[in-house]
Symmetry: C2
Subunit: 699 residues, 2 copies
């Protein structure tokens, strides 16, 4: 495999999209795909995983590091950058096979080529080589660590020191809450009359890593050599691709888009950490506060389970380790058990603001209910935990906190329930479902069914635990006293109101949904007076119509597949799909998966491609009200993979073995990939004629 | 008594205020206090009681009649109206003793005096005399029935016919739903070189009155004579004032303001009807759709009970007769029993729109929850019914439908309740209390306590009924089967969540209120970007603060006085009053009443005056979003009366007899009024020295 994504030519308005498109990352950090001479105005950033800080009344968000790879050449005093110095050609490229970002610009006065990578071998390292040749004039080079960085709610560093130590230039940036980000670099400039070659190796350590991150960063550059580091880096990528690559014979664009999606998932996988999850916009910046959403459990975990099980483990482990945050949040709202964070930062702190959208007409913050009412997040966490456990057969996470998560999650749903006096039916009131455009709705089908599933799963798994791990069971009972609640889980799951399919097979998304105005997505869009308007909230254009943001009933039908008849899926797909804005990158892939369940791969295909190419194509919704929501879309990438694996290949695990039920889209001759399962690596392949193979090999 | 309200001088911007200030009405119709030469642009209107119609997507609203009293004089072709013809002086006046509207303008080319009244003797009649004298030039007079009328959501008449019949000019206006409004007039013009006197008697009948309203209107003018009708009219007013007048020795402005308020209440009292209530803006126009709100039960009924018991009976009867509308509304929302209309039109139809406010920035309708969630309206209806019954000892309304209202109201509250599985506490979720700025709140103290009061009252009164009226009881049981619910009423009233006073005596207005932003009313006002902005709703400036629109906890403390300790009233008054915008005319008088309960008449006084002078002073809030809400404020008038009677005089009824506990404001030497009670008329008088008398006389 040798895949390179290229964009030729330059225009200013593509800078943001390219920053996402050409991202290089290694789970520890993400370097936005901006040119090396770019700074805060072009949204250049090195985004750090798992480190958060809040300034004043701004939102608490992830930190960006000072940028040690900044370099700007000038010839005759003119900056060598498109838009300033005239140029004949310009190309920016990303070699996804090797994880290399490159640029090549033929300026009037010189030729500039650079290469940059974020080491997949050592998560703290990042390197750049910048070659200026054919210089016609007097050249100079400004290479430095750029501390004047892009931040959405900054500045986060109230103290920045810098210095030099044996050829290493360092910057130590500190927040007012004691977080430290140390950035060291070792740069060399080789020059003659017609050329200059600047080479830089840099290291980043933070106070999350060790006591003295500055010393660690400096030490990491001992003997640092660009070429040696590059070899280790590309070898690491090769090892990743060995298992991760997918092949689609007959559809090169789909193959490129899907592998490009997997590039992103591999780039941001938390391989270096035992307990860390993936932010909703990956490591492409501070959008959504760098926080972890249900996106991980819903759409990324499947890929990691299949090809990066250690990363999957770190993600699930993160939820177990943040249980206390979920317990605290539940208590804050008067519930019991675990109410997981909608926007999870370290410790499970919910960074979601009560005012998460800004009104475009007044500039005022708008009260939203993502944080308070997306009760379904807890079910997603349990779903992820069980997905991990069932795929890997690894009981260690259940035993090391996972059982407790189960019990506290069921307890949470128990505490959510309401009933009418004298009625046996339990209800969940005032929820926000996956379709966030409709707030505080009663008996959202998705929420109710996922709550029921959680209650049942907890009841079953904890009952098994009593037999299989009696000592752990007794210890857990001692700790949180859940046993007397087990019958309540079952009772609640039996009594919880079900939004049953009607005669026509339709499931009402929530109580009263079918009474809302029935207009098309285009009609609702036509009512926008400002393209940045938020569609939901109390008064958004979609709020009082049947137009929904993303898969909701369909998400439920997919998540709980097997519980519903095929005709129910078909009826609801045909009803809800035309009413879905797909305003979330989580939407298209859900519909694609549902279409495959209905044996309609060709209906799934455009939705699959929309997901797979989300970041490759760029564009997409950049605003919710006046809040910037741009960045990469790893959930869409993961959803595309799921559509490929479960949808088109039709993978099911039966008795621990992979079984395919292929339904390839028109034009696909064959499709194949590898997965790790039960201690083996399987090469899965399906052909257009329906034949399929699963070849087993030792890991 | 001889009281005249005068305004001298003219400016265009006062036209709307004067239209309210100088209103003349007789319960059947209200003639806005505009000049006789005014038309739709100056909001001239003859508003009709109890007749409603809807056009297209507009709001269903009360009808205005064509105006038979229109008259415009011209001299040398120049219209005799301020702003067109130069003038030396201009006065508009209202003789509230006699119910006469007059104007007097000394123009450069003539002197114009006119007098107009809305007959208090015959509710169908209205008369005008217009005298032009000192004419210097060639005069002509345009007297006609103006059918080009002011309507908010019109035009309502799709067919207008006119004709003449034996000196009577008639207009018959019809709606597309068959309503007819017939307007007949008989006008005479007497003229000489220097003067012209136009005299007009007119009659209005509608299809609510009889089969052939046109014939009735024409017949009503047989032998109509201005002076004779005027004598009958002023005699009727004199009879009304004989009982209604209040005296305040030592405070002539308060005396004037309060009597002026009573003038309005007398003007709009539904004396002519057996079953009709009073719209929230009286008969001053189509504001609030001409609909009946809880204003009647809360603030007007007390005055009518004291001096116009037949009008009180008509108002209560109206609620009994509109029970079916309340049953239908409850069913519409999935409740049982009677959920009364928030904006009640004929038959109890709830005219309240789901979108009752317009966003000033976008012009879009805003979803509000007045209609769906103001559960407390049903309690207000029961409260009014019981107030009537307890004051008059007249059981006939209970027997003729009132008991059924009680049972259906308790049933409604029963059906509202929620509980947590395993908890004995019942809760009312998602309510809108009197303070409409906070929507969909849980356990609003006012709502819960009024619901509890309704449940308890229904349980007690229906239990009494079994003994006192066994046949009626059996018939009602046969009809609606309520008996098995009686124990549930009691249980629910015992279990319903109480917002108990804290250690500091404070009662939280609803769950979570004390967690809201605590800022001043002025701070919140300062956040307005447009003065017409609605403060409430999901995103209004007050919605997420502790600033409230109107008395809420204080309303509860007043309504259920006797249940709470004096220190509780004081603590909550001191807390909530500074946080109250008094954005409703229902607010100030509640606080005034509470201040009197606390023996602080001087704190009550400015709030009393604000209520009493609401329409005299004019101004006030004219807009909620882009919706016009101007008009007269009979609830404020009634609230002022209540403050006078129950607050300052301190009236209580003990064993059927009036007992005073005077607490007169500073400067009042004495205060007196008459009330009808138990078949007698009592002249009540309190003096500053604390002495008081109640002199009994036969009715």
């Amino acid at each position: 495999m040798d895949r390179v994504i290229r964009r030729t030519g330059w225009d200013k308005d593509s800078t943001t999209d390219n920053g996402n498109r050409f991202l290089t990352a290694n789970g520890y950090m993400g370097i936005r795909g901006t040119l090396p001479e770019y700074g805060r105005n072009e949204l250049a950033a090195i985004n750090l995983a798992g480190l958060y800080h809040k300034v004043g009344n701004g939102w608490r968000e992830s930190l960006n590091a000072p940028n040690p790879l900044y370099v700007l050449h000038r010839v005759d005093g003119v900056a060598c950058t498109p838009g300033v110095m005239p140029y004949a050609s310009h190309e920016q490229a990303l070699d996804i096979t090797r994880g290399l970002h490159t640029r090549s610009t033929v300026f009037d006065l010189c030729v500039l080529r650079d290469e940059r990578f974020c080491s997949m071998d050592n998560p703290h390292l990042l390197c750049l080589r910048s070659e200026l040749t054919g210089i016609r004039g007097a050249a100079d080079t400004d290479a430095r660590t750029d501390s004047d960085i892009w931040e959405i709610y900054g500045p986060h560093y109230n103290h920045v020191e810098s210095g030099a130590d044996k050829g290493v230039i360092w910057v130590l940036a500190q927040t007012d809450t004691g977080q430290q980000v140390a950035v060291a670099r070792r740069g060399t400039l080789a020059e003659d009359a017609e050329s200059r070659v600047y080479t830089c190796c840099a290291a980043i350590y933070t106070s999350l890593d060790c006591q003295n991150p500055l010393a660690a960063a400096i030490r990491a550059l001992d003997d640092a050599d660009y070429d040696i580091l590059r070899r280790a880096h590309t070898a690491a990528w090769a090892a990743l691709w060995q298992c991760a690559e997918v092949s689609i014979d007959g559809d090169p664009f789909a193959e490129e888009a899907l592998n490009y999606s997997l590039y992103h998932l591999l780039s941001i996988a938390p391989r270096h950490a035992a307990s860390l999850s993936v932010p909703a916009r990956g490591l492409s910046g501070q959008t959504y506060k760098g926080a972890v959403f249900w996106d991980t459990e819903m759409f990324m975990l499947d890929f990691y389970l299949a090809v990066q099980p250690q990363a999957a483990r770190a993600c699930v482990r993160y939820r177990i380790d943040t249980l206390q945050g979920a317990l605290d949040k539940a208590a804050e709202y008067g519930y019991r058990g675990a109410f997981y964070a909608w926007e999870s930062q370290e410790g499970g702190f919910d960074a979601c603001s009560d005012y998460n959208v800004t009104d475009v007409f007044t500039g005022r913050p708008v009260r939203t209910y993502f944080r308070d009412r997306q009760y379904h997040i807890t079910a997603a966490v349990v779903y992820g935990l069980m997905k991990y456990t069932r795929w890997t057969k690894d009981m260690s996470l259940l035993l090391d906190g996972g059982y407790e998560v189960l019990a506290q999650s069921a307890r949470f749903y128990l505490s959510l329930l309401w009933q009418k006096p004298g009625s046996r039916t339990y209800q969940i009131l005032g929820a926000v479902g996956p379709d966030e455009y409709h707030e505080k709705v009663d008996n959202n089908a998705y929420t109710n069914e996922m709550a029921r599933w959680t209650l049942l799963t907890a009841a079953e798994v904890l009952a098994e635990m009593k037999g299989s791990h009696p000592a752990a069971y007794a210890a857990l009972e001692q700790k949180i006293g859940f046993e007397r609640e087990l019958p309540l889980y079952k009772r609640a799951s039996a009594r919880l109101k079900e939004k049953k399919p009607g005669k026509d097979g339709l499931i009402e998304q929530f109580d009263g949904y079918f009474a809302l105005e029935d207009v098309s997505v285009d009609t609702v869009r036509g009512r926008l007076m400002d393209p940045r308007e938020y569609w939901g909230g109390a008064n958004g254009v979609a709020a009082h119509t049947r137009v929904i943001k993303q898969a909701d009933v369909i998400a439920m039908l997919y998540m709980l597949r097997g519980r519903y008849a095929g005709k129910t899926t078909r009826a609801n797909y045909d009803y809800y799909e035309p009413r879905t804005e797909h305003g979330s990158s989580l939407s298209a892939c859900m519909y694609a998966l549902a279409a495959c369940m209905m044996e309609r791969p060709d209906a799934a295909y455009p939705l699959f491609m929309k997901s797979a190419a989300a970041d490759l194509a760029g564009g997409g919704k950049q605003w919710a009200g006046l809040v910037y929501i741009g960045g990469t879309h790893p959930a869409a990438a993961g959803g595309a993979y799921m559509t490929f694996l479960y949808g088109f290949l039709g993978l099911e695990i039966r008795q621990g073995l992979p079984v395919l039920h292929p339904r390839l889209p028109e034009g696909w001759k064959s499709a194949s990939c590898k997965i790790q399962l039960g201690g083996f690596e399987y090469t899965l392949k399906a052909k257009a004629d329906g034949s399929r193979t699963a070849i087993k090999a030792p890991l």
